[in-house]
């Protein structure tokens, strides 16, 4: 068994706002193996993006702060690294692409420049021409037609899907070991989403890059990921290989999520079973299981103690629930 590429232990990322402390990520632990594709699923405010940004150490400080835990990347704790060591790591070993391709590229530089800049930053021995050639090569790789000419264009001259390809080119330009994709296709149309997902899948396999795919779309997870973490209110509530998540979900939240989404391959009219109520107020999460207020299987114990993530006895599947399915 290969060593872990990423190991997150008891990560706590809090935001100190005027309204109170938002425990956006509270005691989250998980691992990623080299080359693995991990899906992180959850609704807005569940802490999935904050988890990713914590791994990149891109949390805005203030108001955010990584309040505890460790993030081991290749065995080294990222939280102990100096700012210089961090910048060495970012973009070369770990890269990230973001949700909104329209605003994620700097409008005043050509896309070629923005790719070449990353290459120059991390490969000291590379000349400007070599960096530029690499940029064109990357644009070609993400299937931007006429890459040589398009490299000289500015971001506003590209469509949303094309810009997301450019972002992927930037992210993969230095062959990172880990690519964090934060809702990379949420802003895109479904046909463009298919293009981009296909591209990411192909390239990550080609480069041997591990991918952390953050999304709220269970369909995207089913099609692209090997392993899935389900997050709710700052906690991982279930963690399992993709098949088990969808076939034998253990946590009531995962079950609820799967029952509440309409499927294109369903028969029409089958009534959805929504999850009752609202997600909890992140400033005052009640004690006990954060899902207790909405859970159909809630017991007295759930309102008292918070369940830990533990194996449910079906191989590599664990859930944070006292009464898993």
């Amino acid at each position: 068994m290969a060593a872990n590429l990423l190991e997150v232990n008891n990560l706590k990322t809090y935001f100190y706002t005027r309204g109170g402390v938002v425990k956006a990520v509270d005691d989250v632990s998980f691992i990623m193996k080299p080359g693995q594709t991990l899906g992180v699923v959850g609704e807005s405010g569940s802490g999935k993006s904050v988890t990713a940004l914590s791994v990149m150490r891109l949390i805005a400080t203030p108001p955010g702060k990584i309040a505890g835990g460790e993030i081991l990347f290749n065995g080294e704790n990222i939280l102990d690294k100096s700012r210089d060591e961090l910048t060495e790591l970012r973009g070369s070993k770990i890269s990230m692409i973001f949700q909104d391709p329209m605003t994620s590229l700097n409008p005043v530089f050509t896309v070629g420049y923005q790719i070449a800049e990353t290459v120059k930053r991390h490969r000291k021995d590379v000349s400007n021409e070599q960096a530029w050639r690499r940029a064109v090569e990357m644009l070609d790789l993400v299937r931007i037609p006429d890459a040589k000419r398009r490299a000289k264009n500015y971001p506003h001259e590209f469509s949303g899907g094309m810009r997301q390809r450019v972002m992927i080119a930037i992210a993969l330009a230095c062959n990172p070991q880990l690519l964090i994709a934060d809702e990379p296709t949420t802003a895109l149309d479904v046909t463009i989403q298919a293009q981009v997902l296909e591209l990411m899948k192909g390239l990550s396999q080609e480069f041997g890059t591990a991918v952390m795919m953050i999304t709220h779309d269970l369909g995207v997870v089913a099609g692209t990921c090997q392993y899935v973490n389900v997050m709710y209110a700052g906690h991982i509530v279930e963690s399992a290989p993709v098949k088990q998540i969808f076939q034998t979900p253990a946590h009531p939240y995962t079950v609820g999520l799967l029952q509440s989404i309409p499927r294109v391959d369903d028969a029409r009219g089958a009534r959805l079973t929504p999850i009752a109520g609202q997600p909890p107020d992140m400033v005052n999460i009640p004690q006990g299981c954060p899902y207790a207020a909405r859970c159909p299987k809630v017991q007295a114990r759930c309102r008292q103690e918070r369940p830990e993530l533990q194996l449910v006895g079906r191989g590599d599947q664990s859930a944070a629930c006292f009464y898993p399915n």
Partner: protein, 319 residues
């Protein structure tokens, strides 16, 4: 982009027509008869008619206006009412170099101090540096330059009385010359003059820098592993400068308005001083000429900042 420029140019022509018309109408509608005043006690009808005709004041108003505009287009600004036979052009020629010098230094000081001050405040936002520099900016923005000038002069007088410091209280020295005395004389007016624009630029730069630092592409730049210095000076500054360039035109308005007060407080015989003097003496041709001149300067400044804008922001070129 050519279209953008042509569009701006058409706008400029419109503005200039508006400016000439306003200045003309104000002069035309002004009460009192300048020729009569000019003649004063030497009034005689024949001479009155002759002068009135030679100044073209006996024509209907629209003809006077067209004559005025056509003369303007030829660069002929007419003659002063105050000093008979003195071309307005010559009067302006006396004041212009001084005003230009003042304006140029003022703008330079505004940018060189204001912009870095704003960046600094933004980078240190929330710290005492931010509070202090923005406090200073608010103060400078709120205190009219004639008060600043007076305070400056009080301070000089006080320093002179208590410590025997010799520092010129007013004047400008020799235009475009920089002997130690000249420099000494010029420093005060320039700083007072630049104060309001400096404050404006500092606040604007701070706001726009903070805004840019919040953008997604700055996060991208950090995620690429760029050094913080590069993120700020290359990725953030290029973008933060765009709004600053767009308001350069507005700041020219400040410069022109400021000139009236600074030149009058310090007795600097530039365009602002000349304008106010002409207003006291009702020398309409001079007033009209300076108004048109200043408005043209602002309009050209706006055009220049538009041009610069297209250089800095690639998004302009296509739209």
């Amino acid at each position: 982009m050519a279209q953008f420029l042509i569009k701006r140019l058409i706008g400029l022509v419109f503005v200039l027509v508006g400016v000439t018309f306003i200045t003309f109408i104000i002069g035309y509608a002004a009460p009192g008869d300048p020729i009569q005043e000019m003649l004063g006690n030497h009034f005689n009808l024949a001479q009155y008619m002759r002068l009135k005709h030679s100044y073209g004041l006996d024509l209907p108003w629209y003809q006077q206006y067209f004559n005025y505009v056509f003369r303007l287009l030829r660069g002929d600004l007419g003659y002063s009412f105050q000093t008979v036979n003195r071309p307005v052009f010559a009067i302006l020629q006396d004041g212009l170099p001084t005003s230009l010098e003042l304006g140029l230094w003022g703008l330079l000081v505004q940018l060189i101090i204001g912009v870095p001050l704003g960046i600094l405040a933004a980078l240190k936002s929330g710290t005492w540096i931010d509070t202090l520099s923005m406090g200073l900016a608010i103060f400078l923005f709120a205190v009219p330059s004639f008060i600043l000038a007076s305070l400056f002069q009080v301070a000089i007088v006080y320093l002179h009385l208590s410590f025997g410091v010799d520092w010129p209280v007013s004047g400008w020295g020799n235009t475009w010359q920089y002997s130690p005395t000249d420099i000494q004389t010029k420093i005060g007016p320039i700083i007072i003059y630049a104060a309001i624009g400096l404050a404006y630029f500092a606040r604007l730069t701070r706001t726009s820098t903070l805004e840019i630092l919040r953008q997604d592409y700055i996060r991208t730049a950090r995620a690429k592993g760029l050094k913080e210095r590069i993120v700020i000076y290359r990725h953030a500054m290029r973008n933060a400068l765009i709004p600053i360039i767009t308001v350069l035109g507005v700041s020219l308005g400040f410069l022109v308005s400021g000139a009236f007060f600074t030149e009058n407080v310090f007795n600097i015989s530039g365009i602002g001083y000349i304008t106010i003097q002409s207003i006291y003496t009702r020398d309409y041709p001079v007033i009209q000429a300076t108004a048109v001149l200043l408005a043209t300067a602002v309009v050209l400044g706006n055009l220049a900042s538009d041009l610069l804008y297209t250089v800095v922001d690639p998004r302009i070129k296509v739209s």
